[in-house]
């Protein structure tokens, strides 16, 4: 789960990182009102779009303002803006600061290293992927010990790698230690400060913060679940998630109901391969019940663009008879007004097919056949 800049900054501040705290506003007026309390000596504030995507600077999602009126105007321009498909619903108004140097500092879940890797660069303010592509030698990497965590000598290695001066070492070390602690304490899979700045009077400040929380931690951490911005998340995806279904909205017209993430992706790929466009990714999950299958169909049908549905079930932990029952039940509950192609194989497939046959529903045998039939059905609609 992605969280907003201001939320990440709060989690980091809890671990002692100096952040550039500001005010979150959902209206231009509220943003304007925040100017006086924030501008201070600099007489300047930054108005920043709070969206779960990068590149907001280039998209015009960050503006500087020197008065209450300018702040309000900036917020007005940013609120409602679309940045890479994300609509801006909130802005963060934060004090202007005097930047002497900019660093990048991040803790990432490093799959290749099977651990948590610290990435740091003296090229702050630009995306780390860009630095990695153009000048990888400018990135300092250290992987924390899986059992002992980040060690003091590793923090020193990062600091020496960035050529941090002796008198700045202790401040920098404290921030890196706190960033790692923020990551671990909140079950993150990403925590980054970009830029981490040094002000002209030698103070460290986290100017922009970003965090991603591991979805698997959320059931144990209601405090983190509360950080979810319900206004900007897809309602269908949230409803699916609440019921143990993985759902991702796509732009096509063939709805998919599949068990297993790999098979769900392969089903989308097959639809595309045979000339169609999938309307969604949907994995009903392991051990799907009749209720869940019924709900899956409902979720798919919420999308008006859907012109055909492909149900592709290969039973393992999910029993085909339960899926069949779910489908029959769903047809009674939900009005299914588009053609449905069903492929049902695996554990208890005979029982499952019998249930469907008794309800007058026929099935196809192979996945390719199913995909082709669904594409044909959608085109004919």
């Amino acid at each position: 789960m992605n969280i907003h800049e201001y939320q990440a900054a709060e989690l980091m501040a809890q671990q002692g990182i100096p952040t550039n705290a500001g005010v979150v506003a959902t209206t231009a007026a509220a943003a304007g009102n925040a100017f006086d309390q924030l501008a201070g000596a600099s007489g300047l504030v930054a108005v920043k779009a709070q969206v779960h995507t990068g590149g907001r600077g280039k998209a015009g999602g960050i503006k500087l303002a020197r008065s209450s009126v300018e702040t309000s105007e900036a917020a007005s321009a940013i609120l409602g803006m679309d940045i890479s498909g994300h609509t801006v619903g909130k802005v963060l108004v934060a004090p202007g600061v005097d930047i002497a140097r900019e660093y990048y500092l991040g803790v990432i879940l490093d799959r290749a290293a099977r651990g948590l890797t610290i990435m740091a660069s003296a090229e702050g303010g630009v995306e780390i992927e860009e630095v990695a592509r153009v000048s990888p030698e400018k990135i300092v990497r250290v992987t924390a010990d899986p059992l002992l965590g980040l060690l003091d000598y590793q923090i020193r290695e990062v600091a020496f790698g960035l050529k941090i001066e002796p008198q700045l070492m202790s401040g920098f070390s404290n921030i890196l230690r706190a960033l790692y602690d923020t990551f671990v304490a909140n079950g993150a899979s990403l925590a980054e400060i970009n830029p981490l700045i040094l002000t002209s009077d030698d103070h460290w400040l986290a100017l922009d913060s970003k965090m991603t929380i591991d979805d698997n931690v959320l059931p144990y951490r209601p405090d983190l679940e509360e950080l979810r911005d319900l206004d900007i998340e897809n309602a269908t995806e949230l409803r699916a998630k609440a019921n143990g279904i993985s759902f991702v909205k796509l732009d096509g017209n063939i709805g998919c109901v599949v068990n297993g993430a790999g098979l769900a992706m392969a089903t989308m790929d097959a639809i595309k391969l045979f000339g169609g466009e999938p309307a969604n990714f949907l994995d009903v999950g392991g051990g799907a019940t009749a209720d869940q299958v019924a709900l899956a169909l409902e979720l798919v049908l919420e999308d008006d663009a859907v012109e055909a549905i492909l149900v592709n079930i290969f039973g393992g932990i999910t029993r085909a008879d339960l899926v069949a029952e779910g489908f029959v039940e769903a047809r009674e509950r939900v009005e299914v007004d588009v053609p449905v192609v069903i492929r049902l194989v695996g554990t208890n497939q005979a029982e499952g097919r019998e249930i469907l046959a008794n309800a007058g529903i026929s099935t196809v045998e192979s996945m390719a056949e199913a995909a082709q039939a669904a594409v044909a059905a959608a085109s004919g609609h």
Binding site: R114, E129, P146, L147, V248, A261, G262, M265, L273, G316
Partner: protein
Amino acid sequence: MSILVDSDTRLLVQGITGREGTFHAGQMIEYGTQVVAGVTPGRGGGSVHGVPVFDTVSEAARESSANASIIYVPARFAPDAVLEAADAGIPLIICITENIPVNEMIKVRAHVKSKCARLIGPNCPGLITPGEAKVGIMPGYIHKRGRVGLVSRSGTLTYEVVWALTEAGLGQTSAVGIGGDPINGTSFIDVLELFEADDETEGIVLLGEIGGSDEEEAAAYIAEHVSKPVSAFIAGRTAPPGKRMGHAGAIISGGAGTAESKIEALEAAGVAVADRPAAVADLMAKQLA
């Protein structure tokens, strides 16, 4: 021959009294797997499908001489269950459980390695050596003992390809699901190494998906160390970036982990990459012809 499990596998089931544990213990026994003990804390002294249940893994292992353990306990308790199995000296641990926090898995993985045990999973369907032992949740009847070793990050996608291999008359030596999480116990490379060394395995099928760089690393390994023909399928060509496609590990982030990158790397390593799951069997049949 085969890899990892066979008719000598003496399996312990952690979480045997739970709904999934009981169901799949029954399925595995029916398939012919030697299920020798179960563990559920507080349920010691009972039995499930005639299999004795113990309170702790160490007691169960001592009494049953188990040499493998499969874990069906809920995510909250699964990391501890893996550690308990590793500390009890179980050399092969299969964790079916999904939704384990990844930061926990980093520690669990390191600990299991330090005990020289092998962990398969988590969030995986398990593994099977057809006709000898089914250690997982896959439908047994779709498998047929044969010539091809299969390794996969996915569950149902594996069944799809297993079925195609069976239909094509090729069958499987063993089929291993390594799981769909970002951090898991066993990688493609680990399993490729075993299949390469297995006399009975003539060809290898690799089923990957978007996210991470495991397939790219596997491709480099194949180019260097694998002499047997390999065919592959990568799921997720149509997946959009930044969206987790079900599996915690299946996500394209920062432009890395795309299906294209993986397919390119595999093809450069001489792997035949199919455009849909069932076609993998056709490619393998040609490679082995």
